[in-house]
C-alpha cells in the first residue's frame, strides 16, 4: 500500500492507527456482545465457543484485539493530553510510547493466555 506523499509522517500514522483501531473495535463489539449473551441463550454453545480460545490462531487473534484496545486507549490518552493540556513538542515520543505500551500490554495478555 502506497502512502500519499503529503501523509507518511508520525502524527498522520498515529491518526490512522487510532482511526483503524477504533473502527475494528466497533466492528468487533457486536460479535463480542453476541457471544457473551450466549450465557443466557445457550451456555453449552458459549463453552463450545470459549474452547476455541485454546488454539494458537485464536490466541493470536485475541492478542490483536487486545493490542487494538490498548493502542486506542493509549493513543486516546495522547489525544486528550494534546487537546486539553498546553502543547508539547514531544508528540513523536508520546506516539512511540503509546504504541510500545500497547504492545507490552497485549503481549502480557498473550503470554498469560499461553
Amino acid at each position: 500500500m502506497k502512502v500519499r506523499p503529503h501523509r507518511g509522517h508520525p502524527l498522520w500514522y498515529a491518526f490512522m492507527l487510532h482511526r483503524t483501531s477504533g473502527l475494528l473495535l466497533a466492528l468487533f463489539l457486536p460479535v463480542h456482545f453476541y457471544v457473551l449473551a450466549m450465557a443466557l441463550t445457550g451456555p453449552d454453545a458459549l463453552d463450545g465457543f470459549l474452547a476455541l480460545t485454546a488454539s494458537t490462531p485464536v490466541k493470536l487473534a485475541e492478542w490483536g484485539l487486545v493490542f487494538l484496545l490498548a493502542v486506542h486507549f493509549f493513543g486516546g490518552l495522547r489525544l486528550l493530553a494534546l487537546e486539553f493540556l498546553p502543547w508539547s513538542s514531544r508528540q513523536k515520543t508520546f506516539i512511540a510510547a503509546a504504541t510500545a505500551l500497547a504492545f507490552l500490554v497485549s503481549t502480557t495478555f498473550f503470554l498469560s493466555a499461553a
Binding site: R19, G22, L23, L25, A26, L29, P30, H32, F33, Y34, L36, A37, M38, A39, L40, T41, P43, L46, D47, L50, T53, A54, E62, V66, L69, A70, F73, G76, L77, L80, E83, V105, T108, F109, S112, A113
Partner: protein
C-alpha cells in the same frame, strides 16, 4: 459533522472509559490464565451488582463513543451527510447499546 456537542460527548465518554478499559484489560489478563470457561466467567460475574454497574456504564459509554466515531468515519470516507448520517449514527449506537446491555445482563444478572 462534529459539532461542539458531539465533540464533548466523544471526549467525556473517552475520559469515563479510561479507568474502565484499564480494569477490563486487567480482568482479561487475570481471567485468561488457565483457559476460559463459561462457568469460570459466570462464577465471577453472576449476581454481582458491582460488575453489572462496571460493564453497564462501560457499554453505555462505548455505544455513544463508537457511534460518534463511526459517524465521522462514514461521513468522511463515504460522504454520507444529513438525515442519512444521523440515522446511521443513531442506529449504530442503539444496536451497540442493545447488544451490549443484553450481554451484561446475560453474564451478571
Amino acid at each position: 459533522m462534529l459539532t461542539l456537542r458531539l465533540y464533548l460527548l466523544q471526549r467525556v465518554t473517552a475520559i469515563l472509559m479510561a479507568p474502565l478499559v484499564l480494569g477490563h484489560i486487567a480482568v482479561m489478563i487475570y481471567a485468561v490464565q488457565d483457559g476460559l470457561t463459561a462457568a469460570e466467567i459466570l462464577g465471577r460475574t453472576q449476581g454481582s451488582l458491582g460488575w453489572m454497574l462496571f460493564y453497564g456504564v462501560f457499554v453505555v459509554a462505548v455505544a455513544i463513543h463508537a457511534a460518534i466515531g463511526l459517524r465521522v468515519i462514514v461521513a468522511e470516507t463515504l460522504g454520507l451527510r444529513g438525515a442519512g448520517l444521523n440515522v446511521f449514527a443513531w442506529g449504530a449506537g442503539l444496536l451497540l447499546l442493545a447488544l451490549g446491555l443484553r450481554a451484561v445482563w446475560a453474564v451478571t444478572a
